[in-house]
Each structure stands twice: as C-alpha cells, then as structure tokens.
C-alpha cells in the first residue's frame, strides 16, 4: 500500500475526538484516510453481496434440500447431486444424461469460441492497424454495435424468415436452381445455433482484443520488420502475445455465456438440442427447484474450472 504514509500523517494531526475511549478510536479509524478505499468500495460490495453472493449461497443451500411434486423441504442431503450423476459410472462406456448434455454444450462452446475468436481477432486487427484515423476507428466501432440496438431475442428470431424452409436463402437457392429441395439444415440445427452464437457474441471478443491491441506500441511492429520478420511472423510473435489479455477476457465472456445459454439453443435449435441450461430450465418448469439448483452448482463448478485454466495461461491482472 503506497498510501500508508498518508494515513500516518492524518493520525499525527490533533483531533477533536478523544483517542482514549473505544468509540473515539473507532470514529478516528473510520474517518482516517486508510479507511477511504473501503468506503469507496462499500457500495459496490453491498450490491454484489445482495445480488450475487446471497443468491449463490441460496442456490447452494437449496441444492441440498428435498422436494416432491408440490413442495420443497429444508434438508441436508446429497440426493440431488446423486440424481445429476445417476448412471454416469454404471452406464459407461455409453454416456449418461449429464455427460451427453455437457458434451453437447461443450461442442457449441468450442465452436462459438473458435469462430468468435477468429472473427473478433481479425476485426480488431483491422480496426487497430489498418484504420489510421481515430474518427475512422470510432465510426467502424459504432457500426459494430448497431446490432445491439435491438434485443437479443429479436436478433435471433430474425434468422427464421432468412434461414427457414420458406426463407429468403432457400427460396433464392431453389429459384437459382442450386438445390431442388429447400435445405433443412439451415434452421433449427447445430448450424443455426452456432451461427446465432457467433452473431450474438463476436462483439464480446472484438472489444477486449481491440482494447489490448490499441496499447501495442507501433514501434514494436517496425522493429520486428527491421529485424526481418515477415507479416505473419510479426503477427504471431508480436501482436498475438501482446493481445493475450484481451483474448483471454473475450474468451471468458464467450465461454461463460455459451455454457449457461438455453434461450439461443432453444430458439435456434427448435427446442430439440440439449444444453445444460435447458436441462435446468426444464427442471425449473416442473418445480424441481433443488435438482435444478444442484445442476446449477455443478455447472458453476465446471465453468469456474474452465476459467481457472484460461487465466492460468495468462495472468490477466498482471497484464492489465
């Protein structure tokens, strides 16, 4: 703490509050400069405690309760976790429900992550190194945000008239004679789900990567060229390592959002593609709150492990 000295000087000053009583010491501590950061952090800490920590604790507690068709009762049992993983060992080598669902979710996670990273990195690279003027950068950046003016659901639904059996793409393909029958894999399929994820989440890759890239000293690129590096070598050995914090932050955004998603997979997958979020949603709709809570806790643990692995690759705090 570099401001320890400042706190010391405040204490040396004479104060109206007598230092001998307990209350006086307390008041002085609260008013001292050393306490200022805590006061500044307090409002956000309270908001987090109430809207994040408390619900999380309630979820963990409820995941240990019992339930039946119409009520939930406080208890301390592992039944719900046993139910989440029931048959997972016995049914090997075929996959149990939970493993199958996680496999399907992870598949979309990897697809969405790879595609948004490729697109996001390319767009950010273009914005940073090819658009010279700040005005140009700002304008193009704002253009990227235009889709966010409408809601998530509207952006998904609008794919239906485009990709559907009677949609624009199919009617074009049929009328141009490229296919005889309308393509059915365009909508309510793995393809449409991956497409929607890329559409929805690429921006979350662009922003942090752009942020990291714009801090790269241009002199480094010139030095690389002077030292004889080709364009690709400079990209791989200079730009990519220095963009790592942005890449990791963007990846954390995309991975956490895709892992918990059930709306996109539901709407774009015709409600027939499995995801962990969907399992939780189905259980909630049949009032199996403790079981859904257990599933949510398991999902949280998996996502935290993925994030821990990613932050191990790059120390995001240090790089910022």
């Amino acid at each position: 703490m570099s401001d320890g000295g400042a706190g010391g000087t405040a204490l040396l000053r004479p104060s109206a509050v007598p230092a001998t009583t307990g209350v006086g010491v307390w008041l002085r501590r609260l008013a001292s400069r050393a306490a200022a950061p805590y006061w500044q952090a307090a409002p956000l800490a309270l908001v987090f405690a109430f809207f994040f920590v408390l619900p999380l604790v309630v979820t963990v507690v409820v995941s240990l309760w019992r339930y039946n068709e119409y009520s939930i009762t406080p208890a301390l049992v592992g039944d719900n976790y046993a139910s989440v993983f029931s048959g997972c060992l016995a049914e090997l080598p075929s996959l149990c429900l939970t493993f199958k669902t996680y496999l399907s979710t992870l598949k979309f996670c990897v697809l969405a992550w790879a595609l948004t990273l490729l697109l996001g990195f390319t767009v950010a690279y273009f914005l940073t190194f090819h658009v010279r003027s700040l005005t140009g950068q700002m304008t193009l950046f704002l253009v990227c945000t235009i889709p966010f003016w409408t809601s998530n659901v509207i952006r998904m639904i609008s794919w239906v008239p485009l990709l559907g059996r009677n949609g624009l793409v199919n009617s074009f393909l049929v009328s141009a004679g490229l296919t005889r029958e309308p393509l059915t894999w365009l909508l309510f399929s793995d393809f449409s789900v991956a497409l929607a994820f890329v559409h929805l989440y690429t921006m979350f890759m662009i922003v942090p990567i752009f942020n990291s890239m714009s801090r790269i000293d241009r002199a480094l690129l010139e030095a690389a060229r002077d030292a004889g590096a080709s364009g690709w070598q400079a990209l791989w050995n200079v730009v990519v390592p220095l963009s790592k914090p942005g890449i990791v932050i963007g990846s954390i955004f995309v991975v956490t959002m895709v892992m918990g998603d059930y709306v996109t997979i539901g709407v774009m997958g015709g409600q027939q593609i499995a995801s962990v979020g969907k399992v939780i949603q189905v259980q909630l709709s049949y009032l199996q709150f403790p079981l859904a809570a257990a599933n949510a806790v398991v999902l949280l643990a998996v996502v935290l492990m993925v994030i821990a692995a990613m932050t191990r690759l790059v120390d995001v705090r240090k790089e910022l």
Partner: protein
C-alpha cells in the same frame, strides 16, 4: 406453423382454428394411444366475502350461462355446461362440433372468419369419441421425476 417452418406440433385448439382460417391445411391427428386432455375451472379463495364474493359468483354464473360456452365450443374446446352452450349455437354448428357430423353449412370461427367448408367432418369426431379416448390428463403424475428425466434424455439423444 402458419409460416411453414413447423410441420408437426402440439397445439391448442384456438391456434389450430386460427391457422386453418388463414387457409393453411392443418389437421388434429388423433393418436391410437389416445388423447392428452386438459381441464380448467374456477376456484374461489375462502378470503372472499361480501360484494366481492357475490361478484365472483355473478361472473361464474354469466360464464356458464351459454355465450362463453358457445364461444369456447366454436374454438374446439368443450364448455363445462353443454346445455346452455347448445342453446347459443345453431343446430348445424352443434352437429359439427359436438356430434361429429358433416357440416351442413360453412363453419365460421368465433370471430366470423370462414373455418370449414360445408361437408367437412371434425378431426377426431364427436364429443363422446374424443373425450372417450382420453389417455391421460395433464396433471403432475406420480412418475413426474422419471418423466422429466426421460424428456431431458429425449432432447439429448
């Protein structure tokens, strides 16, 4: 359904009549396993008293007095008191919706749009034929946990 993106679906009766009145050929396919049936009724909380209680009964009496029943029947549902609904329907409507007979005249939806041409027969037939083939009621079943799990497995398969 109306946009042609969906070919098979579990649907409510008014949605089917709506799609049909838009000119999309959509049929209710009776299954050999039987029907899944829903029932809805009114319940009054015991906290009601005085004017509010009277008003609640007045509303229920009106609801069962025929007009609403005829409206529901024309959507393809069955009202709770069939006698009063029958009094509010034309004999040819009653024959089509309740007795499973071929329509003598064009059948209109509750909002007046053309639903079926004369001569058509209702999917599944008469009230007795349809309600006599109810295989399960839409309620929380004894095997609820098992069924929810099977549904999630079906989606993951």
């Amino acid at each position: 359904m109306a946009s042609g993106e969906v070919v098979i679906q579990s649907m409510w009766s008014p949605a089917v009549t709506k799609v049909r009145s838009m000119g999309v050929p959509c049929i209710y396919q009776p299954l050999k396993e039987g029907y899944r049936a829903w029932a809805a009724g009114f319940g009054l909380p015991k906290t009601l008293s005085g004017k509010k209680l009277d008003a609640a009964y007045d509303f229920i009496n009106w609801f069962l007095s025929g007009w609403a029943g005829a409206f529901l029947n024309r959507q393809g549902y069955y009202s709770a008191v069939l006698d009063t609904a029958k009094a509010q329907m034309e004999p040819y409507e009653w024959a089509y919706w309740m007795e499973g007979k071929a329509a003598e005249r064009d059948i209109k939806a509750p909002d007046g749009t053309l639903l079926e041409k004369a001569g058509t027969v209702r999917d599944g037939g008469s009230f007795e034929a349809r309600m006599g083939a109810v295989a399960c009621w839409n309620a929380v079943m004894d095997q609820n946990d098992y069924m929810v799990r099977k549904w999630n497995e079906f989606i993951a398969a």
